[in-house]
């Protein structure tokens, strides 16, 4: 427990004493992650096979069709 508290405090102190450029970087990281996961992944990058087929057997059948009929 003591170690967990120390590690926690280490991170808190680190973030508190971060210079302005470090804070700017964190803002960029958070915006980037938001665009990637909340916009791109949610609206544009659905897993095609998982989305279209319910089971692995159906997915395998689809890929087999694609491999032999392309």
């Amino acid at each position: 427990m003591y170690w967990v508290k120390r590690v926690y405090q280490f991170y808190i102190d680190g973030f508190k004493s971060m210079p302005a450029w470090g804070r700017n970087l964190w803002v960029i990281i958070l915006i980037k992650l938001f665009i990637m996961f909340a916009v791109l992944k949610m609206f544009f990058f659905r897993d095609t096979l998982k989305n279209r087929y319910q089971t692995d057997e159906e997915r395998a059948n689809h890929v087999l069709e694609e491999l032999i009929n392309n």
Partner: protein
């Protein structure tokens, strides 16, 4: 078969993947190399206790942090694309990619993300030695992250250690070590990471030269140049060695890529290496059995290509036409024959699928073929060529010439990469020599050259990626899966939209990176070293 392909979708999917991968690759090499450079600098500080070394370490560590923060997670977009745009491919390779990337997630990511916090937050809070260990482990962790994705990429260039399961349509790993330690994987990892070390060394000497030109932080700049030049020279030597190994491996496993890199149309013994070349008419415009390489300018090194490929000056290096049309004397199978064999493998898979519910005996017999090494080696290994089949012999030959990568792009990318690599090595030697003789401050031409070599290091790095990835077209998995059949059948408009969304996002990130980094560079290292 080829007429069924939606080339708009294929090309936009390729463009999107290329954009994402090339953008991601702007950040990765600097992280790979700068991590080690910072670790060397900090090691000297811990050993000597000299505060100037601490100042040097903290400055470059700051630039490492900016680059890491902007670049981190941009590679995850590639994984989004695998699932959405390249779902057939993802399914086909699933097991091979899954294992290495899972190891990356568990090991390298946690190693990196834990110790990078100690690197930045730990000054004065943990012991000097523990901080140094954290810096080294961050650098090693970053390189381990590159390891697994490069192993996966190497498998795509040289698929080994797996077995195709016709029931699940997936490749299954049968020998992890064959995948992990394949000649391609070892060369690719070493060549790619050392290229990152060279790029980072150029970055350090370039910025240090700017400080010398501005007559600021002279001692800091000179010490940085010494460390980066020594690291750059050692890395360049390794880069040449691993590049040489890669060339031989490519000549054996991807001879078409090798021939395209040199625009070698007709195979020859005692083949010369083109040191410098400029095309007149592009050789693949269009490519057929009468095509020739038309060079306006060409400087050759006699016998060098034969030696580079097979370590013998009189070795035969097959040309593009030998590979497409075949060469009986040299025992080279034609692409037409490979297409026929690939088509037979595809028809076997089709019959296997159709017999599943109707003919159990036939089903078992066909399934056994996929476990028969001789059949796999003679037919299934050409599976992807089957997509180019056409019953009309004339069309078949035309299709065979489509299984050739873009020649001009492969040629120029290869020569730009090699030429710039030589320039970097020479620059490191000159900088180290002048710094050791304490004459560097007066050599403005050298200092400006070092500064303006920074963008060239990125050009070389991207050119290397083009050689590897464009040079292996049309394959996404060598000989097994062409790019066109790896693509998901989705609306090409959505691919176009995301392509432009990525462009806007990436340009924004690149501007942020350059802006924050240049501001910090202009501010320079803090005085005192402990701020």
């Amino acid at each position: 078969m080829l007429e069924n392909i939606d080339l708009t979708l294929v090309n936009w999917s390729r463009a999107q993947f290329a954009l994402t991968a090339m953008f991601h690759w702007l950040f990765v090499p600097l992280t790979l190399g700068l991590g080690f450079i910072v670790a060397f600098m900090e090691s000297i500080y811990v050993r000597t206790g000299d505060l100037e070394w601490k100042r040097i370490t903290k400055f470059w560590m700051k630039l490492f942090g900016i680059n890491f923060a902007i670049g981190v997670a941009t590679g995850i977009i590639l994984e989004f694309e695998f699932g959405t745009n390249w779902s057939n491919y993802s399914w086909f390779v699933g097991d091979i990619f899954g294992a290495p990337l899972a190891i990356e997630g568990i090991m390298a990511f946690f190693l990196e993300s834990t110790f990078i916090a100690v690197m930045f937050f730990g000054w004065g809070k943990v012991s000097k030695k523990f901080h140094l260990v954290a810096t080294w482990l961050t650098a090693i962790g970053a390189n381990l992250s590159a390891l697994w994705i490069l192993v996966a990429n190497a498998w795509m260039q040289n698929p080994v250690g797996m077995k195709f399961n016709p029931e699940t349509a997936r490749n299954e790993m049968v020998n992890f070590w064959d995948v992990f330690l394949s000649e391609t994987a070892v060369n690719k990892f070493l060549h790619t990471t050392t290229s990152g070390y060279v790029l980072a060394s150029i970055f350090v000497v370039g910025i240090s030269s700017w400080f010398l030109l501005k007559k600021r932080h002279i001692l800091f700049a000179k010490r940085s140049i010494v460390i980066a030049s020594v690291f750059g020279i050692i890395s360049s030597a390794m880069l040449i060695g691993t590049g040489d190994g890669s060339a031989r491996e490519i000549a054996r496993n991807q001879p078409m890529k090798f021939a395209a890199m040199e625009s070698l149309m007709e195979g020859q013994t005692q083949a010369p290496l083109i040191a410098v070349g400029l095309f007149g008419k592009a050789p693949d415009d269009p490519l057929n059995k009468d095509s020739e390489s038309d060079f306006l300018v060409k400087i050759e090194i006699p016998n060098m290509l034969s030696y580079m490929a097979f370590l013998k000056v009189d070795a035969f290096v097959p040309g593009i036409k030998d590979l497409v049309l075949g060469n009986e004397v040299r025992n080279i199978m034609s692409y037409k024959e490979k297409i026929r064999r690939g088509y037979e493998a595809q028809q076997t898979l089709k019959a296997f699928k159709e017999s599943k519910n109707s003919d159990p005996e036939e089903y078992a017999r066909l399934k056994a073929k996929f476990n028969d090494k001789e059949w796999v080696d003679n037919y299934f290994r050409y599976f992807g060529y089957g997509n180019y089949y056409d019953p009309d012999p004339e069309q078949l030959e035309l299709n065979a010439f489509k299984i050739v990568p873009p020649i001009s792009m492969s040629f120029y990318a290869f020569h730009i990469m090699v030429g710039l690599g030589m320039h970097f090595l020479l620059l490191f030697v000159v900088l180290l020599w002048l710094t050791a003789r304490n004459k560097i401050e007066d050599k403005k031409v050298v200092l400006y050259t070092a500064l303006w070599t920074i963008p060239l290091a990125y050009v070389a790095s991207q050119a290397g990626w083009i050689v590897a990835e464009v040079g292996r077209q049309p394959w996404v998995i060598q000989d097994l899966m062409p790019t066109m059949s790896a693509v998901s059948k989705i609306d090409s408009t959505s691919v176009m939209i995301t392509f432009w969304l990525f462009t806007i996002t990436f340009v924004g990130l690149a501007i942020a990176e350059v802006k924050i980094m240049t501001k910090q560079i202009k501010n320079g290292p803090k005085e005192g070293g402990d701020k």
